[in-house]
């Protein structure tokens, strides 16, 4: 519970952060610290340098422009859960953020840290993916944007380069007749998602499914997108039986994770049950 020796720098601007990253190989960014510090205390991570970005105010906050929400990477889970703009335009994000761990973690943990750490049990990756979010990144060569679908590469591995900073997440503001739902089966010890299902359903004027998104946390090493299910739902009238059938016939996950608490096959079963329930709830919300 005592981390190995490290150097600490506090960055005051984004540019200073990148400069420090360039100077110190192996440096890690410290934001909320709720993933990094525990593994440092167990000495599973021993970064020689920490760069504290927690005070860079430009990286924090929610902005709405042109039908999009831009969420600064330092925005905490508690801020997401309480934000009127998020609740109105991206309610699934507020719903998921409110289910992360406990109040202490939600008050310190950030969306940027959550996505950059890419823990398979985190709650925000699948939500970001289901919403087709875009990740904003700044590095020595300037700014770039990556689609969520290209961001999560493997267990705890993302497209971020060592000298880059995740600065914001851009999400579409959900329109009329669009409903969303995040349903979570949490691990009783860690509070991480054993299975978290993020469902988004957009209905057309005739009430049929125009578009749907369905992604999972906790089941596979990276957030899993169940495209076959949502494709099967497109254009259909979303009766319960339609949803059940689409999930039963089209959800197949070949490489689930498993541990002593929940095996791979069980997680797949959870994904089936939770996706049916999440899709139905998203549909109901779209209708109301």
């Amino acid at each position: 519970m005592y981390p190995a020796k490290f150097e600490y720098y506090r960055a005051n601007t984004l540019q200073e952060t990148i400069h420090l990253l360039q100077q110190h190989s192996g440096a890690k960014l410290l934001a909320g610290g709720h993933s990094l510090i525990p593994i440092m205390k167990l000495r599973l991570a021993q970064p020689p340098v920490l760069i504290d970005i927690g005070r860079i105010s430009e990286l924090s906050g929610v902005m709405k422009t042109d039908g999009r929400l831009r969420i600064g990477s330092l925005t905490t889970h508690a801020m997401l859960a309480a934000s009127e703009a998020v609740k109105k335009h991206c309610p699934i994000l507020a719903e998921a953020a409110a289910q992360i761990a406990d109040p202490a973690v939600r008050n310190k943990g950030t969306i940027g840290g959550n996505l950059a750490h890419a823990d398979p049990g985190s709650d925000l990756p699948a939500v970001t993916l289901a919403l087709d979010g875009v990740i904003h990144i700044t590095g020595p060569e300037g700014d770039r944007q990556v689609n969520a679908s290209d961001f999560f590469l493997d267990l705890l591995t993302t497209d971020l380069k060592p000298e880059e900073v995740l600065t914001a997440v851009e999400l579409p503001a959900l329109e009329e007749r669009t409903g969303s739902c995040y349903l979570k089966f949490e691990h009783p010890a860690s509070g991480y998602a054993v299975c978290g299902a993020a469902a988004v359903v957009a209905l057309g004027g005739d009430g049929s499914c125009e578009r749907a998104g369905l992604c999972f946390n906790g089941v596979t090493a990276t957030p899993y997108r169940a495209s076959a299910v949502t494709e099967a739902l497109a254009g259909r009238n979303l009766e319960d039986a339609t949803i059940d059938q689409a999930v039963t016939e089209h959800l197949s996950i070949d490489d689930p994770m498993g541990d002593t608490y929940a095996s791979g096959p069980y997680r797949v079963e959870l994904a089936k049950v939770y996706s049916k329930r999440a899709l139905k709830k998203a549909r109901d919300r779209a209708r109301s």
């Binding site: 005592y2 167990l42 089966f185 009783p188 608490y261």
Partner: protein, 785 residues
Amino acid sequence: MARVFGSSIKRREDPSLITGAGQYTDDLKLPNMAYAAIVRSPHAHARIRSIDTSKATALDGVIAVFTGEDIKKSGTPGVVPVGWLLPDMKIPPHPVLASETARYVGDAVAVVLAEDRYRAQDAVDLVEVDYDPLPVVTNPAKTVEEGAPQLHAEAANNIAFDWELGDKTKTDEAFPKAAHVLKVNIRNNRLIPQAIEPRAALASYDDSKGQLTVWMTSQNPHIHRLLMSLASLGLPEHKIRVIAPEVGGGFGSKIHHYPDEVIACWCSMQLHRPVKWTATRSEANLTDAHGRDHVTEAEMALDENARIVGVRVKTYANMGAYLSTFGPLVPTYLHGTLLSGEYDIPAIYCNVIGTFTNTTPVDACRGAGRPEATFIIERLMDLAAEELGLDPVEIRRRNFISPDAFPYQTQVALQYDSGNYGPALDRALEMVDYKNLRAEQERRRGEGGKLLGVGLSTYIEACGLAPSAVVGSLGAQAGQWESGEVRVHPTGTVTVYTGSSAHGQGHHTTFAQIVADRLGIDPDNVEVIHGDTDKVPFGWGTYGSRSAAVGGSAIAVSTDKVIEKGRQIAAHLLEASEEDVVFEEGKFFVRGAPDKSQTLNDIALQAHLAHNLPPGVEPGLSATSFYDPANFTFPFGTHIAVLEVDPETGEVKLLRYVAVDDVGNVINPMIVDGQIHGGIAHGIAQALWEEAIYDGNGQLLTGELLDYAVPKPHMLVSFELDRTVTPCPHNPLGVKGVGETGTIASPAAVVNAVVDALKSYGIKHLDMPLTPEKIWRAIHQSGRS
């Protein structure tokens, strides 16, 4: 005036604790203090070929690195003993630092001392131990099988003891004649106690005086002093002072005498510097004695009227790698003796085989043996009800010990002094609205969807440990009385010294209530001192729900002695005979003449001035008692869990939890409710979430709170409590004990409820913890999903 005894005054210890002013062991700092960090075996079983400490020693800031060989060379015994002896028990030595063989992951092999705790941890990583890994066994039943790895030369087939209780012949005869026989195999899951404050010790050896002072996380400082002196350090007892400052919970884990605190003391004696050791959470999970871990085969025989005619239990109890201080007691005399439950059972036989495995030692953990016994008997009752087509309530009623049968001699040694089980059951059924609940369950069964389950546990426990002569005859190397001193100061305020060492129970409040109530004074005028061997005459400590019943009784007796002495002095001053002087609401006066009185304050002052005392009466106003109870106490009650099971995922959702407990007279209802709440939460957690899991290599897979699930508020419901009151007939307060009732009763209530919910799948039993996957698999394997 409303009585102080029985009122919910606020806990007087809380303002200090919740504002962070409380001083725990790790908060204490002494000049020139060194920090100890312990090198632990990463292997569950390995021969230690060599230990190279040179790199660690060379690290800047490191003071010394010691191994078991250094302790041997010092001539210090350096072992921890076992405090409960069973017949023919094998007792392998338990060195505080293993130098030849490491026997579980976490076994201490070396200690590093450094100027700060970060450097100490760095140096731990530099100690090079050459291990030769050996085969590993972790299961308490498989460890006795032929070919299993052997842990100790002293214990053939890894058997520490083979113990029995009850009449085997009579029990064996009951089974073939019985109308119904049921059998269940139970794995009682291993628990990690998880006190919120990890264990710690700050040892300071004064070479010039040959005096050792150790501040440590202890539930029983005098036991620790005794064992430090007698077995571990070889220092005379009067040269050791053990102080337990604020202690942040224990759940039993701070009763035991561990290697780590001994190591800190020994290091201070070598360095002539104060040495502090504080466990990390990971270390605590590896080294705090675990609880439970039984493999049990249990059988019940009943006649045609559903009356129990026999119970037969065989248990393999995991002792871990070494015998912990009271490890052998827990699965024997705290377990076998409870197998009669609340029932009149004519024949019981229990066989317990305590075994060594490559796991953390197992010892008392909240409830200690009694939750395991209650689980067995209460599961059997539900299985019998199912088999015989009776309601679980009905089968219990038919077998309850009748209220006029007390004192009731069970077939397993205990004599229950009092009890009346029907009213607690009635009240719980009324609170939960049992009849309508069953109707609702029936209605829901037809509808599909979530399955409703209702589970009962009508439990008894034996606590308030207990007559010293009795425990001595059963193998205790300890007494089980308690000391209590009441000192009235010249101004009439009072200081109480108790051998019960609190670690969260609220002694500062409840013990003050006992004294204030008897003396007719404000509890704020009573200070309670505990946890210091130089202040308190002696004490056996706080565990087994014994503080109020034994420690509290000692204080009550001393308070009464003070009143008697006060009466003598008052009679002298009032010029009356003692028999005519009464004491009411803090005043002595001649019966019928309350206007002319002497207050306790008056008497206290006169007692100390000693200007005008009756002939033969010594000055001062204080009394000390050593109270040895006449029997255990026997709290009982009914708990009912109501829950839903999601048949699609196996998830369990608690809906209601009703508990009607009889803990005798209640000193402070708020504190009693709080302890019941904590106990229920603990027991529900055993039923649903908690389990220490070892893999085949003896690695603890649930060694962090990331994996080991302690209960959190959002996982529970608001508990509905009530009480019946059957006072304990043999102690002056009529109190029984409450700290463990919840943990003892609730696992069976929850599991009975889940199995009840799963009735339509033909599922008879599931082992704890009832994880969703386990339930889901059982549903699928039932062939009825």
